[in-house]
Amino acid sequence: MILDPISVALKYGFLAVLYIFLLWVSRSAMKDLRRGGQGQSWTPGGGSPVGDEGTSIHAAAGGNAAALDRLDPRLVVERAPGHTPGMEYEVGPGAILGRGDQAEIRLEDPFASSRHARLTRQGGVVILEDLGSTNGTYLNEELVGGPQPLHPGDRVRIGDSEFTYLDAVD
């Protein structure tokens, strides 16, 4: 019974430590809420803006069916021989990438085959497919085997030519 005060003190100490810890952790959550409107990253060191990143999954999917009609899937040149970085190619109903004349997106790249890869639209999804090229097509630095759906921000590389895939109206 004499020990009771220590026991009680320990209990309140336990609760106090618990709540101080909770306050500390939730402080960063509160910061998030306050900064939410400005679209600031919460990372103390790397304060790069994330903006609407929070809900951005639908910027790609299209929030509603009407918005989807306005989407124009396109490839943006990152670096490619014979192209200016930043140039955009619209995918349209589909496009062939290659060195040959009938390719919609001409690659002046020694590593590219004449018909190298194909982009096709299936519904709202653009599918990337290698057409049996010699040197392969890379999606996010992974060799493309079968047809692959593209997601906004995906990087498509053929030889020394690299593109970023985008499909939202920004």
């Binding site: 810890f21 990372t43 709202g124």
Partner: protein, 449 residues
Amino acid sequence: MSARTRELFALIPAALLLSAGFAAIFLSRGDLLGGLHGTNQVSDVSLTYGGIFLGVCVGAHLVLRVALPDADPYLFPLVALLASFGLVEIYRIDADLARQQATWFVIGVGAMAATIVILRDHGRLERYRYTIALAGIGLLLLPRLFTPTNGAYLAIQVGSISIQPAEFAKIAIVVFLASYLRDTRQVLVLGARRVLGVTIPPLKHFGPLLLVWGTAMLLLFFIRDIGSSVMFFGGFLAMVYIATDRLSFVVIGLLLFIGGADLVAGHIGHIADRVEAWHHPFLESNFRPSNGVGGSYQLAQGLFAQADGGIFGKGFGGAVLELPKGQCGPTAQLCTLLPAPHTDFIYAVIVNELGLIGACGLLCVYLLVCQRGFKIAMLARDSFSKLLAAGLTTVFALQVFVIVGGVTKVIPLTGVTLPFVSYGGSSVLANFVLLALLLLVSNRARREA
């Protein structure tokens, strides 16, 4: 202060809580350690336990520091805090169980480190999505080969260890859903037709989804584990909603669930019992101490225990779990005031000993874990990571809701574990793997942000 240094500092409160908790329990058992003269010993032993706990956590922290330098800094300390809650309360209930739980905690931390080091990139999971889905369904099927406990086929016995495969299956199913929805979410929205103002998803693309998930749900009804099926269902709906932004899919799903639940509640005996116990826990015909399963004895005693805790609780070691022999009926079961205090009803014991304040604190820890999880999903750049983080967090949150809701009589009681707190090896192990996946997503998301 870098993210990892924050993490290191945040681990200290967890170790302090563990030491304080153990010290309080040793004091309440003062006679075991030589009464008043044991005070020094008490502080030594409890600080040693706190030190060992801190050592294990710092070990895991070092692995994170090397492997995932940019991962969320608060997630692991929050989990360590939950684990310290669990270890203290389980020790207070049964020292042997606490020893096993501590072993599982160390194994769980090891599994987390192993998952992080071996997997390195969660994107690799996508390649094996059908294998993972099959493995998840296989895991759910496994317990059916063994004998049921409390009317549900939950656990399998391997030697002296009891394994609950559903805990691991939940991760497998979430990984599959995230990977599959990533590829088809656009088709699901675009191919949808509108019938009577309700958007119906195209069956061709929805089919495989329904197949895997429907099989999981059927199996859960088959193994009669309703708690887990609520988790699976809720996780599935949340992920479909996040992937498609279509509220109508969620509404359809909820209607189907209500229909299904009504059907099941009427036809499977022990579930009807649970619902009856939930409606009238204090009715004499339901309140049968001799029959722990099916009656409302456990639920009603849990409610009494929580009310008895008051605002600040009875203090560690203050909860009365068993009546001394001779004061109760002839059978041992009548002496047990609160059945299953270390698993299903650990929440009630915590409320009794730490009161409303402590319970709110515990729930706040869970809330913050979920906040970190959804934050990770928001920061993640690619759809798979977003869906994976959101799905895992939802399942985790629903698990807490199912058991805390059950114990507090918000929903019918079903036995799932309170993550990281309840006694149970599979639960601790599976939840540490879940944590490892969240940290992996977080590392990539915050590095790129």
